[in-house]
Symmetry: C2
Subunit: 341 residues, 2 copies
Amino acid sequence: MNKKISIVDIANLLNISKTTVSFILNGRAQEKRISEELVQKVLKLVKEVGYKPNSLAKSLRTGKSNIIGLMVEDISNPFFANIARLIEDRAYEKGYRIIYCSTDNDTAKTQELIGMFQDRHVDGYIMAPPKDIEEDVRDLIKSGLPVVMFDRYLPNVDTDYVIVDNQFSTYNATRHLIEQGYSKIAFITFSSEQTQMLDRMNGYKNALKEDKLKPYIKEIDFNRNEELIKEPLSAYLKKNPGIDAILFGTDHIGTCGLKVINQLGVKVPDDIAIVSFDDYDVFELHSPSVTAIAQPIEAIADNIISLLLKKLESNSNQTTQKITLSTTLNMRNSSQQALKR
Amino acid sequence: MNKKISIVDIANLLNISKTTVSFILNGRAQEKRISEELVQKVLKLVKEVGYKPNSLAKSLRTGKSNIIGLMVEDISNPFFANIARLIEDRAYEKGYRIIYCSTDNDTAKTQELIGMFQDRHVDGYIMAPPKDIEEDVRDLIKSGLPVVMFDRYLPNVDTDYVIVDNQFSTYNATRHLIEQGYSKIAFITFSSEQTQMLDRMNGYKNALKEDKLKPYIKEIDFNRNEELIKEPLSAYLKKNPGIDAILFGTDHIGTCGLKVINQLGVKVPDDIAIVSFDDYDVFELHSPSVTAIAQPIEAIADNIISLLLKKLESNSNQTTQKITLSTTLNMRNSSQQALKR
DNA sequence: TTTATATTGTAAATCGGTTTAGTATGAATA
DNA sequence: TATTCATACTAAACCGATTTACAATATAAA
């Protein structure tokens, strides 16, 4: 329970002013013409006693915290967990720390979280924004804080963001299914107004339009209780037995979909072909392995953190950068065998 | 860019002292005999202008931060991501915030992270400790900070912890395999001195001993590069073709193992039976579905946060509590069909 | 008429740093 | 000799709260 040593203790031990110690520790010794001799003496003592500045006090005075606030939709979702992990690593190297939070796509919760982050004086924000958060984000930007979005963006707010080419991804996946001979292709997804979901929907529709195929769209409300996802999904498939292929809008609905399909005893890909957005072990290991649209997670994380660090390090208000990365369609058995056996 | 309003501003606006405002906002008005009239006036103004106390200043003065530091092995691992999520939710309800970090089981990194948490004045610690961290944890406890461990513990440090009954879990799973008629049962796991891994190993060995079966143990060094896990695993299986069942020590090595088995073209469960520790979608959806030892994630998270909150709220140094929860063996096809066809 | 006792509040110290505005000293210049 | 300048360092204000110790006034008791 020994009290922590403070900058005053250091100063007293050497019979100098704490100002001097502060200058030395902040690398301003030369600028402030502190003699090399004293600098060494201070540094030596600091190392010896293991003094570490209290960052609360520092932040209080400087207004900087070296903390980045990261708001994902749900940290237990592998996509977000992986991105978060990569961002954490990169930020750590640069001396920044991360506070994560899950928004659950809940606007009110997100507003509260932004409040908490402001409170903690985070230096920058990384977020996968929920809907109706435009005003709050604009306020952040107005107050000079860098904000980088990912996974989706707010069309009416001018910020940096990193997304993937959602529209082309689903277009491409749907065309792939069409070329394999499937014609009653369903798009099953969570109901959402978010840009990434709208784009995925458009890609699907556009691909069908080229061949004048009829769309089969099922939107399901998100719920953390899996049963409430599987139920309507199952009902939809039962009601539309003609469907011969499904494109799932996200990994989560994809895994739920697989469970339902297994329960119903439908055979993949003989009875039905499957493609899912996002690619994880589940899809690779499933038998038959599931064709999936893989997002370039490392590249996404790298770009996010680079954008943010650039803004943090040059406090100038540069123009915003909007980065769109491409995905990879990992073709596997679930959509490969031709229909006509 | 309007400057944030401070307690002094509030005081000035009402021509009173900031002391009074502070007392009112901290619910000490009665104790300090502030008139009900003034209390209402202050609360009204505070609400009107949306004043929020600067928590850095507050923490600096009080030494409390209302933040809990959570150190997991790897936030991108579903077990830890799920636990983290549940803890975050519970803590949030109680007014606490969480800072997570991944230790990678790296002692030096963990020490640094502890330093950063101390620096941020976190009020309590939740951790899945790496090895050789005993001294640092003892220091934390000595300085009066509550520490709760989970997933594993440090035998030589007296702290609260929440774990599962690892030894019985693998014992039980192995007995299950033996009862199904398998006799050359391998235990494939990460090499580790951590308690949970040692216990899992013991459970396996004890189960074999009862029938005097020969153990087949393969320990693989952890690496974030999956190929470096799959390679030795594959080599081991090729070198020991007699193995008719495998118990995997963790979910991660389990999924790697499934990939290898698929690559090698081995049939499950005809050629080989599979059981894995931890249960996730991958195992349920795999064909054939994989028998797995499921940890009670919600109960683990609930117990962790309850223990910590109890310590935080009563600053007395009660005796420590060590909680061991039981797992469930979810039996599925991969280990169900009898050997002798 | 004093003296105690509530009542209602406040001034100033404090937490641990950073930053601004100087000070003291000796050497160089006018 | 008086003035400037560079050198080496520091006192005090400040960030925004909490907390301790006390002040001013009115009322009740002695």
